[in-house]
């Protein structure tokens, strides 16, 4: 028995054609080696985040985003599902990254979570935060030598600031094509801070230096804490107005926290808001790493330069403390193990300072001291991003 359609085509032929068309729509028909590689990278990120607990808040959304972004499909059909297809859901969510408004919202939350007391009580630690920015500009010089354009070099250099939101913000302005690689590189190395920094710290310090005990930080008054975000904003943005989106939100968030009268706003900024933005940011940055756009020689260069910028930043911080100690009186010397905290991976790099310090003196807790340069690093990298934006845009 034959089922005939209007055109005389058999029903089973029609069914077969339909099945073929459907199969051509599935991801299997469009898989490339690049997609497989990226899916493996996504799975590896998930493994690091879930099993090893390396920065799970970042690596889990990014890893899952990589999986989402690397399911291939027929772009010619116009499903409007891909992150680079205008009007798709992912594309709409991606606009926060593309237009650079997720990072300032993250900074708002960071400001509302950060206690700047350690820095206020010992303001000279700010200079360590400045010294660690050598990583950014060292990587900028190296990227230029490797043939990247000044804009691309600036966007790559910011990886050395160890600040994911800043890296995304700057690369979205200076080199949007490289943003996926830069963001993934920045977050990957931030997760790898416990692996990258300790050997450099040990290499550049002597046993005697590692056991230096620092004065306990003094108590900081409420007035000082309230003044900090106000004066901080004025002093930084009057010199570098291009850093306004990041610095403005950072200090505003901190004022919400410290003023004591906007507890609800501070709670929202440091809780639900930053959580929502972290989810959207991580997922869309991950999804933006489509194999066709991501797996290029430039991306490999970016990963290499990112690692170098982290190494330079860590070394610069440690060496700067050693240099600074020459000018300090005997009882006021700084333990160079807190030099690594100048990179703004908060609070991971401060924890590393504490951890390495305890290896050499079980009673020498450096965490509070390291938090000073750590939060100064956040300010320093946002200022550096503003300078790069001012010079290069």
């Amino acid at each position: 028995m034959r089922f005939l359609s209007v055109q005389g085509e058999s029903f089973f032929e029609f069914l077969g054609d339909n099945l073929n068309t459907f199969l051509s729509y599935t991801a299997f028909a469009h898989f490339t080696v690049g997609h497989v590689v990226m899916l493996l990278v996504g799975l590896f990120f998930l493994y690091l985040g879930i099993k090893k607990e390396f920065e799970p808040m970042l690596l889990v959304p990014i890893g899952f985003g990589i999986l989402i972004g690397n399911i291939p499909f027929d772009t010619a059909v116009g499903f409007q599902v891909g992150i680079y297809e205008e009007g798709s859901v992912l594309n709409i969510l991606y606009q926060g990254v593309r237009q650079g408004w997720y990072p300032p919202l993250i900074f708002l939350g960071i400001g509302a979570m950060t206690d700047f007391s350690a820095l206020i009580s010992n303001p000279k630690l700010m200079l360590i935060g400045a010294a660690a920015q050598f990583g950014i500009f060292g990587a900028y010089v190296l990227a230029l030598l490797l043939g990247f354009s000044p804009n691309e070099a600036g966007a790559i250099g910011i990886i050395g600031g160890a600040d994911g939101p800043t890296a995304i913000f700057l690369s979205s302005k200076l080199a949007p094509d490289l943003m996926g690689a830069i963001a993934v590189s920045a977050y990957s190395y931030m997760a790898l801070v416990p692996v990258i920094q300790p050997p450099i710290m040990r290499l550049l310090t002597t046993k005697k230096e590692r056991v230096i005990r620092m004065k306990p930080p003094r108590v900081v008054s409420k007035n000082e804490k309230i003044l900090f975000p106000i004066l901080g904003l004025l002093m930084t943005t009057l010199i570098v107005p291009s850093g306004l989106p990041l610095l403005g939100m950072l200090f505003f968030g901190n004022l919400l926290k410290e003023s004591g009268v906007t507890r609800r706003l501070a709670d929202t900024a440091s809780g639900p808001l930053i959580d929502v933005i972290t989810i959207l940011l991580g997922l869309t940055v991950g999804a933006s790493t489509q194999a066709t756009k991501f797996l290029t020689m430039k991306s490999i260069g970016i990963f290499g330069l990112g690692a170098l910028s982290f190494i330079i930043a860590t070394a610069a911080g440690v060496l700067f403390v050693k240099f600074f100690n020459i000018f300090l009186k005997k009882g006021s010397k700084i333990n160079p193990l807190i030099g690594n905290s100048g990179v703004s991976a908060v609070p991971d790099s401060a924890r590393i300072s504490n951890h390495v310090g305890l290896e050499y003196d079980k009673t020498n807790y450096l965490l509070m001291h390291a938090m000073g340069p750590n939060v100064a690093g956040v300010i320093g990298s946002a200022v550096a991003a503003g300078i790069l934006l001012g010079f290069l845009s």
């Binding site: 920015q133 900028y140 010199i239 300078i387 290069l392």
Partner: protein, 317 residues
């Protein structure tokens, strides 16, 4: 009274801030004018007429609809630019062109007056209130097809020193070498910052050194400010501490009182209290839930009589 003053101040501020300029029309500038058009740019009707180019200097869209163009300062509302035409929206840093042909019936962009090429001409843009002058330009008599305007888009005046070293305002409006209707008067190299960096600082060391200097300057300034405020606060706290102890506050420097610093025992006590507090909070209670009968000796605490409310009594006087 205080509330009334606040209200008056707020209302005054709002009124002052809202004078004249609607929809940021104040950002518009008369950018280029061609009076004698012999074989230059043509309009949609294929005719060569005088034209005026308006430039939006801001980074936001400005709607010129509702504003006025005139060639007579005593008649500011001579040509009303129609509202409701989508084409009157000028995008950020973009231009719009009006034909000065006295053929207003041809649409929004044809005004109802005409220039006289034989004498000096005047053009002005007024805001939607018909009173606030946004910009004006006086165009001298020029050769045909020579336009008059601003060499750099939107920049009319600059302040610079004259021969005597006095700061004076210089009007940059001049005859332009080429007519550039609806495009930038001066075409900048779009990648000039990059190109300049590549040619002048190929290794990037100059830029890196400058940038690091700025980073250090900013953080050194912050350091200076917080060092000073820190000293002030420590001094103030010491003074308060001395005051609280009833000691003289005139020699704070020599005082050994350091606020916030206690003995090691004090910190140990606080830490132990915190430890106990944290260990008191636990999910599993030590009590046991059982269905076995548990007999207890009589206690007034378990007697029902003590848990009942007493019968109310009425006070009779």
């Amino acid at each position: 009274m205080k509330k009334i003053l606040i209200f008056i101040f707020s209302a005054g501020f709002l009124l002052l801030s809202n004078i004249g300029f609607a929809q940021n029309a104040s950002d518009l500038r008369i950018n280029e004018v061609l009076v004698t058009n012999i074989n230059d740019f043509q309009d949609d009707f294929g005719q060569q007429e005088a034209w005026v180019e308006i430039f939006n200097t801001s980074y936001g869209t400005v709607n010129i609809g509702g504003c006025y163009l005139t060639d007579d300062i005593s008649n500011p509302t001579k040509y009303f630019i129609p509202k409701g035409d989508v084409l009157t929206q000028i995008k950020p840093r973009q231009h719009i062109l009006f034909w000065v042909d006295d053929l207003g019936f041809r649409g929004t962009f044809h005004v109802n007056f005409k220039f006289d090429p034989t004498k000096e001409n005047f053009i002005a843009l007024f805001d939607s209130n018909g009173r606030t002058l946004i910009d004006s330009l006086t165009i001298p008599v020029l050769a045909p097809n020579v336009s008059f305007g601003l060499p750099e888009d939107g920049i009319r005046f600059i302040r610079e020193k004259d021969a005597n070293g006095q700061k004076v305002t210089v009007d940059l409006a001049t005859a332009l070498p080429n007519t550039t209707p609806s495009t930038n008067n001066h075409l900048k190299d779009q990648d000039s910052a990059n190109q300049r960096l590549i040619s002048n600082d190929p290794t990037g060391l100059g830029m890196a050194a400058t940038a690091m200097m700025v980073v250090f300057t900013v953080l050194i300034l912050l350091y200076g400010v917080f060092r000073y405020t820190g000293h002030y606060n420590v001094k103030k706290s010491k003074k308060n501490a001395l005051k609280a102890q009833g000691l003289p506050t005139n020699n704070v420097k020599e005082s050994t009182v350091v606020p916030g610093e206690g003995s090691g025992e004090l910190y140990a006590a606080i830490a132990y209290a915190l430890y106990l507090y944290q260990n008191e909070i636990h999910d599993e209670e030590s009590a046991i839930l059982t269905i076995d009968k548990v007999t207890r000796d009589y206690s007034p605490w378990s007697s029902k009589i003590y848990t009942l409310r007493q019968t109310p009594t009425v006070n009779k006087k």
